[in-house]
């Protein structure tokens, strides 16, 4: 069976990109081979920091023959009335070297045309592969690229060799001063010099022998099983940081896990600090004793050195970790000092927030905390929080950003909030305050947990909304795939928290308050006032776009979502309640009837705006009946809407269906008398408005066969 291998030998490719590069390489290879009409059995890609490998098994020894169709002149000018070929078609056949009798006629959307079918003979694979390989290397989607030496090509890191073997033949390739060859290299530290590979089939065994495990998945499994074994031997809890594992597997070609120790005295530091020191700086795996605590151990994944050197390698790593932990301990102690004896240290830090710019033109983090205080208390009042909870919220806001100026967070920015909580507890704050401080950053990434407390939820919403509003006011609006401030994720966070905590409040009131405070001191207020009115709607739309996306993902019907959003509602939880209510009754005959009646009333009266119903102009009892029923239902529905009881709203709307049907049966709307006609249209319009008080029902797509009212 034919085999082809392309090995791109590189200097160390950053670990986090390797998996995605291999995926691109595989997809592109598949596309190129198919476009080039080359059959194959399978394509695989593997890689390490120092090589990207493409392997094609069962590759055809030549391209398939294909017929190419070439478009010629339209039939109208190709033949004369007797069916004899005219000049254009004779030329066409000559140019393409196809005999006249072999030309065919085919219909296109522009009429009938003459076509030539040309047989293109497939080329030998050796002749096609060089170009395919060059295209592959050229077209890998790289997150960053660079140049090196005096070549002009770009890649993620310098390319140092190219191995291209088709069975036992080298496919000749030239790239930036390199010529492809049958030479590869083994493990950087454990082998020396180039290695000759006779044929593609031998490649894998040769690399294995030279301490290179080419499959990232295999490396991951090796690391995983070695870690689990060590954890087990030391009575630890079976837990492996998967993100770190994915990273570390691509840092080595021949993984081996070693265990080191550190002094127990460092276990006094918060677990999060210890794990941050180990994982972020050193890429070590911590070992947990149980959920909350660590063992004084760490695991380092090395690049396969011999056993006899393990001890000194571990010693070196222990020395480095000790220095890092010593630093962390120093920060931890320094952070708890205060320069103002009257102030606890987090309170003392508040003033330092005046030195951190929040965003250009929008003041400092200190200003932001002040904003959060006002806005979060506004939401708390709206939600009728108890005075105790409001007090907790108030205190939490005061301290929520104070950890940003601690040494620990400067060193490990990802510990923001976590240190806030630790330090709040250390300075004797209520545990609910500490939790609220921690939770106000949640969720930090997709899949992260949500705030569990109502105070944490409110502060999280306020903080994220302020980020969004600030960016929009500063014209830093997400665009296409560009969302550097992760505003979409934050909007989604806001929505999820509101839905989870079942909070009813008006989002645009909060946005408005936020904008007003933001601009009050900035002397921009005046020039931006009109813009602000737009901004409120733009920001709300931005959030609702996320809402729509989330609801679609949760399998709510798009037409129901749009029907509700068309009413420009303002309360996220209320929107979901409406949508759920409609989704529940969507296919019931009663609701279909409601839509039909509502649409009929609306369609007839849509061009009759601003008319008031005048009872004295009623002529028939059906008009009175309908109107009286309307008044009754309207009163009930208004109360139900206030209580968000939309299931009942629709039950009540259904009671309108019979009176309105009777009205249509018995009453002619478009009578000659203009006053009576207008009054009847006004009545229908009023009814339609009531029908549409929850959602624009005309947006709901009914199944085929159901009548959708009549139109004028």
């Amino acid at each position: 069976m034919n085999k082809f291998i392309l090995e791109i030998g590189t200097e160390e490719i950053p670990s986090i990109y390797i998996d995605s590069i291999l995926k691109y390489l595989k997809n592109n290879a598949r596309n190129y081979l198919e476009q080039s009409n080359i059959d194959y059995d399978s394509i695989d890609t593997w890689g390490t920091p120092r090589r990207l490998i493409l392997y094609v098994e069962g590759i055809a020894s030549q391209q398939k023959d294909i017929f190419q169709k070439i478009k010629g002149p339209p039939i109208a000018i190709a033949f004369n009335s007797k069916g004899k070929p005219e000049n254009p078609v004779i030329k066409f056949s000559q140019v393409n070297r196809v005999k006249l009798k072999d030309l065919i006629i085919e219909k296109t959307n522009k009429g009938e045309y003459v076509f030539a079918r040309k047989l293109i003979k497939g080329k030998k694979i050796e002749l096609v592969l060089p170009e395919i390989c060059l295209n592959l290397i050229d077209n890998i989607n790289l997150p960053k690229s660079m140049k090196w030496g005096d070549t002009s090509i770009r890649f993620i890191r310098p390319i140092r060799w190219l191995l291209t073997l088709y069975n036992n033949k080298v496919i000749p390739l030239k790239l930036g001063g390199l010529t492809s060859n049958r030479i590869t290299f083994g493990h950087r530290l454990l082998t020396t010099g180039p290695i000759k590979v006779d044929s593609a089939g031998q490649y894998f065994a040769i690399l294995k022998k030279n301490y290179v495990i080419i499959d990232p998945v295999e490396r991951k499994e090796i690391i995983e099983s070695q870690i689990l074994q060590i954890i087990k031997n030391n009575g630890g809890r079976e837990y492996i940081d998967q993100m770190l594992l994915e990273d570390v597997k691509n840092l080595v070609e021949y993984p081996k896990v070693l265990m080191g120790k550190f002094d127990k005295k460092y276990l006094d530091l918060p677990v999060e600090v210890l794990t941050a020191v180990m994982t972020k700086h050193q890429k070590y795996f911590p070992v947990y004793s149980d959920k909350e605590a660590l063992l004084p151990l760490f695991l380092v994944v090395i690049n396969g050195n011999e056993e006899r050197y393990s001890e000194s390698i571990v010693k070196g790593n222990e020395r480095v970790l000790r220095a890092r932990l010593e630093d962390a301990k120093f920060f931890y102690q320094e952070d708890q000092k205060t320069t103002e004896p009257a102030l606890k240290f987090l309170d003392n830090n508040r003033d330092k927030l005046k030195n951190i710019v929040f965003q250009e033109n929008l003041g400092t983090v200190y200003d932001k905390v002040e904003r959060l205080a006002t806005i979060s208390d506004g939401i708390a009042q709206e939600l009728q929080l108890s005075p105790d909870s409001r007090q907790i919220l108030k205190r939490s806001v005061q301290l929520c950003k104070s950890d940003l100026v601690t040494e620990m967070v400067k060193e490990f920015p990802e510990l923001q909030g976590i240190m806030g909580k630790e330090y709040a507890l250390l300075q004797g704050e209520d545990s609910q305050v500490a939790t609220t401080i921690y939770e106000h950053y949640l969720p930090r990434y997709s899949g992260d947990s949500f705030p569990t407390t109502v105070t944490g939820s409110i502060l999280s919403i306020t903080d994220k909304l302020d980020n969004i509003v600030s960016c929009f006011v500063n014209d830093l609006i997400p665009d296409g795939s560009q969302d550097p401030y992760a505003l979409r994720r934050q909007a989604l966070g806001i929505i999820n928290i509101i839905l989870l905590q079942e909070m009813y409040f008006s989002i645009s009131q909060v946005i408005e308050l936020n904008i007003n405070i933001l601009l009050k001191d900035r002397q921009l207020a005046e020039q931006l006032t009109t813009e602000n009115k737009n901004n409120i709607q733009i920001i709300k739309d931005f959030i609702f776009q996320r809402l729509r996306y989330l609801l679609l993902e949760k399998k709510y019907r798009y037409d129901i979502i749009d029907a509700v959003l068309a009413k420009n509602p303002d309360n996220i939880l209320d929107i979901l309640t409406r949508i759920t209510a409609i989704q529940n009754i969507y296919q019931t005959p009663g609701f279909i009837h409601t839509i039909t009646s509502a649409t009929r009333a609306f369609n007839l009266s849509r061009n009759a705006p601003g008319l008031r119903v005048n009872i004295s102009l009623f002529q028939e009892k059906e008009e009175h009946n309908l109107y009286n029923h309307y008044l009754k239902v309207k009163e009930i529905i208004e109360k139900l809407i206030k209580r968000h009881c939309y299931d009942d709203v629709f039950l009540n709307l259904e009671t309108m269906n019979v009176p309105i049907d009777t009205f249509f049966d018995k009453i002619l709307v478009m009578v000659e008398d203009e006053k009576i006609r207008s009054n009847r249209l006004a009545l229908l319009r009023t009814i339609a408005d009531l029908y549409f008080s929850v959602a624009d029902l005309t947006k709901i797509a009914l199944a085929k066969g159901t009548i959708k009212g009549e139109s004028i």
Partner: protein, 292 residues
């Protein structure tokens, strides 16, 4: 192996690899990169190979001589080669053997570490070289300097001499390193660290520093206007160090910080552009190799 032997051995090794062994620059710099032997020489088509020790000042890193790992002045061993040789990683790894670090005995890793110097308008891609968990070298393929795209591409290898020595001598504390056989780093440097930290954090006259910054900047500008990029660059370096001192004193707010960085970068860019032009006018005297 003591520190001075480490330096001797690296100098000997790199001189055999065709590098000029140069000296530190005569003014305060934050890194060996800022020495004109790197910053200006990487510009343009002329080949260049040089190695030198550079005392590098980072005022904010001062710890009054109390921290076993951080100092406000550390020593870099800087290697700059243009164009970057194909086997440069291997050449580098062999240099470690000269200080007693043999590949099979250690876990040596090239970990992604991209480099950027905002005040110089310079950036590159490369790695931190990590030896048994300790970062000992920054290894960078320069892509831009002074805002100018580089061609050919130089490689910069910056050994942290203290870090390397800590690994070689297996010491936890920088001050316990042996500089000569009978004298420690601490005995030589400790008092400097204490006094300089006091200066950097407490004693520096910020009012004077602010006016110095303006004076240096003005001088750099007038030198640029007279087509004198090299002296102009000296004053740019002085601006940069003055800014670092003010920064260590927390005298510059965060918003102002960006503005100061931009001011220095503008000078560096203009120096680089002028220098590149001068070399072009001179028809690139080193283009035919360096005579090595």
């Amino acid at each position: 192996m003591n520190i001075q032997d480490i330096i001797f051995n690296l100098e000997e090794y790199w001189s055999k690899k065709g590098c000029l062994i140069l000296t530190p620059y005569g003014t305060e710099v934050g890194a060996g990169t800022m020495n004109p032997s790197t910053f200006l020489r990487v510009l343009g088509p002329e080949p260049w190979r040089a190695a030198y020790v550079e005392p590098s000042r980072r005022p904010a890193d001062g710890r009054y001589g109390d921290n076993p790992n951080r100092v406000q002045l550390h020593y870099q061993f800087q290697v700059i080669i243009k164009p970057s040789p194909d086997d440069i990683q291997d050449i580098y790894l062999k240099s470690l053997e000269k200080v007693g670090i043999y590949r099979p005995e250690h876990d040596i890793r090239f970990m992604e570490g991209d480099w950027e110097a905002p005040t110089l308008g310079a950036w590159g891609l490369g790695w931190e070289v990590v030896l048994d968990g300790l970062e000992i070298t920054q290894f960078t393929y320069f892509q831009q300097a002074g805002g100018i795209d580089l061609n050919p591409i130089p490689v910069e290898i910056t050994y942290g001499i203290e870090r390397l020595a800590m690994a070689v001598q297996q010491k936890d504390n920088i001050y316990e390193l042996l500089w000569g056989d009978n004298i420690t780093y601490g005995e030589i440097q400790h008092q400097f660290e204490v006094e300089q930290s006091k200066y950097n954090f407490e004693a520096a006259d910020t009012k004077m520093l602010f006016s110095l910054f303006s004076l240096f900047e003005k001088e750099a500008r007038q030198l640029i206007s007279k087509n004198l990029p090299i002296p102009a660059y000296d004053y740019t370096l002085k601006c940069s160090h003055t800014f670092n001192l003010l920064d260590a004193r927390s005298a510059i707010s965060v918003t102002e910080r960006t503005i100061y960085i931009t001011r220095v970068r503008e000078l560096a860019k203009q120096c680089a552009q002028l220098y590149a032009k001068q070399r072009e006018k001179m028809c690139y005297p080193l283009l035919q190799g360096m005579g090595l």
